[in-house]
Subunit: 104 residues, 6 copies
C-alpha cells in the first residue's frame, strides 16, 4: 500500500474487487481524470477512497516524485506522522461516508 507520501506508481487507487466505477483512471498526471465519483460499493472501498484523497492532497501540493521519495523514510517511521496521516484519512472518510449515505 505504501505511505501517505507514496511512490507515484503506488499512488493509484487501491485495488478494487469491482471495476466500475473507477475512481482513478491515471495516477501519474493531475490532468487525468482520477475522481469521477464518491460513490463506492462498500464502506471498505470508501475508506480506501479516503486514503486516495489523502494522498492526492499531498501530491497536488508536492508533485515532484523525487522529493516525495526522499521524504518517505522520515514520514513512515514517525509515530506522530502516522497519526497525522490517519487524521487526514478520517476527515476524508467523513466526506465519502456522507456521500454514500453511510452505506445504510
Amino acid at each position: 500500500m505504501g505511505t501517505l507520501i507514496a511512490n507515484p506508481t503506488r499512488c493509484a487507487a487501491p485495488t478494487y474487487r469491482r471495476e466500475e466505477p473507477t475512481h482513478t483512471k491515471g495516477a501519474n498526471s493531475m490532468a487525468d481524470d482520477w475522481l469521477t465519483t464518491l460513490i463506492t460499493a462498500t464502506p471498505q472501498e470508501g475508506f480506501e477512497l479516503a486514503i486516495t484523497l489523502s494522498r492526492r492532497g499531498v501530491k497536488y501540493t508536492q508533485p515532484d516524485t523525487d522529493v516525495l521519495h526522499q521524504l518517505r523514510p522520515d514520514y513512515a517511521n514517525s509515530a506522530d506522522s502516522l497519526t497525522a496521516a490517519s487524521q487526514v484519512v478520517a476527515t476524508n472518510f467523513q466526506t465519502v461516508a456522507a456521500a454514500n449515505n453511510y452505506w445504510r
Copy 2:
C-alpha cells in the same frame, strides 16, 4: 487493547459481545474484507469501531509491522501522541455515530 500503532495481532477489531455483523474479518491483510458496515448495536461498539478505523488509517500508511513495533514505545509514552490519537478516534466516531443516527 494496545495503542493506535498496535501489534498487528491486536489490530483486529475489539471484542464484540455479539458476533454479527463482523466489522473485521481478517486484520493481517488489506486484501481482506475488514469493514462491511458502519452499523453497530450500541454506541460503545461504535466507539470501538472508530478505534479500528483509526488504527487502519495508520496501517494503510505504514503496513510494515516491524516498523510499527519499533514506533510503539515512542508513541504510547507521549502525552501529546495519545491526545492526537484520541483526536483521530473522535473524528472517526463522528462518522460512525452519524451512520447509526446516533443510536437514537
Copy 3:
C-alpha cells in the same frame, strides 16, 4: 476532575445529578459497558460526556495506568497540550450535541 490523561479512578464519567442513564458503569475495564447512550438531559451533561469520550480515546490507546500516571505531569502543565485536549473535547461535543438535537 483530573486531566485528559486521568487517574484511572477518575476516568469514570463526571458526576451526574441524575443517575439515569449511566453512561459509564465501570471505568476500569474496557470489557465493561461504559457507553450505552449519547443522550443526556442537559448540554452540560453532554459536554461532560464529551470529556469522557475524549479520555476513553486515550485509554483505549494506552490502557496501562502506570504509564498514564507518569505522563500526567508533562501533559497537564503544557499550555499546548491543554489546548489539544480541548480540541478533542470540542470534536466529541459536536457528536454528542448532534445526537441530542442540540437540546432544542
Copy 4:
C-alpha cells in the same frame, strides 16, 4: 477577555447584553450549572459561547488555577498557540451555530 487558559475569575461567560438565558451561572466550580442551553440571541453571542466552551475544555482538563496562571504567559505569547486556540473556538462555533440553525 483573557486567554483560552484564563484567569479563573475571567473564565465566566463573556458579558451578555441580555441576561437570559445565562449560559454560565458559576464559573469557579464544575459542580455549578454553567451550560443550560446552546441557544443564543445573536451570532456574536454564539461565538462568545464557543469561547466559553473552549475554555471549559481546558479547565475540565486542568482545574488547578495556579497551574493555569503559570501557563498563561507561554501560551498567550505564542503565535502557534493562539492559532490552535482559534481552531478550538472554530470547532465549538460549528456546534453552537448548528444549534441555532445559523441564526437564519
Copy 5:
C-alpha cells in the same frame, strides 16, 4: 490584508462591495457588535467572513495589540503557521457555507 494575527486596525472585516449587512461594526472593542449575521451575498464574502472569525478567535484569546504585533513576524514567516491558519479558516468556512446553504 495582514495575517491571522493582524494589526488591530486591520482586524476589521475585509472590504465588502456591498455595505449591508455589516458583519463588523467596530473591530477595536469586543464590546462592539461585530457579528450580526452569518449570511453573505457571495461565497467569496463568506470566505472573507471566515477569515474574520478566525482572527477574532485569536483576538478574544489575546486582546493585547502590542503582543499581537510582536508575534506577527514569527507567525507570518512560518510555513507551518500559515498552514495552521488556513486550517482555522477552512473550519470557519464550513460554518459560514452551511449557514448560507452553500449559496446554492
Copy 6:
C-alpha cells in the same frame, strides 16, 4: 501545480476542462472576484477547488509573495507540512462536496 504556499501566478485555480463557471477570475488581487460559486461539474473539480480554497487561506494570511517564495522550500520538503496541507484540503473538500450534494 506547486505547493500550498504557491507561486502567485500558480495560485490561480487549477485548469478546468470546462470554462464555466470560473471559480477564480483573477488570482493576484484579493479585490478580484475569485470565488463566485462552490458548484463544480465533477468531484475532481471540487477537489481542485478545495485546493484553491486552501491556498487562499494562506494567501489572505500572508499576501507578500516574496515571503511565500522564501517559505516554499521549507514547506514542500517536509513530510509533516505536506500532511498538514492535505488536512486543510480535506477540510475544504468537505465543504465543497456538501455544496454539490456529493455529486450524487
